[in-house]
Subunit: 151 residues, 2 copies
């Protein structure tokens, strides 16, 4: 039981949701992460989204440091590429997908290890004893670096 | 590279986001999953949310099969308890939290194995060769049960 740790709503999950919680932003990230899209025209065709909305969402992802722009080769267009902060959203998209696959219906794709082709799934892993079932996971206060005590 | 698998936007991740993508719904789920809250008054106090909004969000979670209501002991009030479908959102909240912890700032809580107290983290696990770094994960078409071929 978490007790009074979450007095502020500004927990990390809520902050992450501010980036990915908007539907188009999630779908842009999905296409960037798993289809490798970088061009405005590819996102536009894939998502069938109005260009002005797509533009706003891409600008928002750039402003948040999830994507950055670069000059495209042999073209005047800009490309939108994921930053490390953006690549790290992959487990979030995978967790959402796993839930939807199980509780809505199996989607069209599975995740694979691009090295060996094995199926990749998320595992909840205890530092002491290995895989843990979801019901056996709680939360406790993080031990803060004791700044004041060190004075 | 995923290719043309995701022609429809209705991938599993998007469907899951329809449930958890609204900020209050995520925070209700967080409180239910990690604080064990079941009472309207506990959610209300924790989230400082207007009662009519909280009521709508709880009803929506019940309608989606994420929560169900039951009679409280020694009280006329109803309680809101997670279903198995709701409990399975835990990895999604954990993935969002891990991202926020890394890229915004470390939040107030860590996840622990309630059996041994060890820290629990999500691991991306290949069925053939064990833990996989995020950059080495792609997507491919799920092999469908070949209904037509079997005729």
């Amino acid at each position: 039981m978490l007790g009074r740790l979450y007095e502020s709503q500004e927990c990390s999950a809520a902050r992450a949701l501010e980036v990915v919680g908007e539907r188009w932003s999630l779908l842009i990230l999905r296409d960037a992460l798993f289809r490798g899209y970088v061009r405005f025209s590819d996102f536009e065709r894939s998502l069938a989204v109005a260009p002005n909305i797509l533009q706003k969402r891409l600008e928002s992802l750039v402003r948040d440091g999830i994507m950055e722009t670069r000059a495209a080769e042999n073209s005047e267009h800009r490309e939108y590429v994921l930053t490390p902060k953006g690549h790290d959203f992959k487990p979030v998209v995978m967790a959402l997908t796993a839930w939807g696959d199980k509780w809505v219906e199996p989607g069209p794709a599975v995740f694979e290890h691009s090295g060996c082709g094995g199926v990749v799934e998320q595992e909840l892993h205890c530092s002491s004893c290995g895989p843990v079932p979801v019901r056996r996971i709680g939360a406790r206060a993080r031990r803060r670096a004791a700044k004041k005590r060190s004075r």
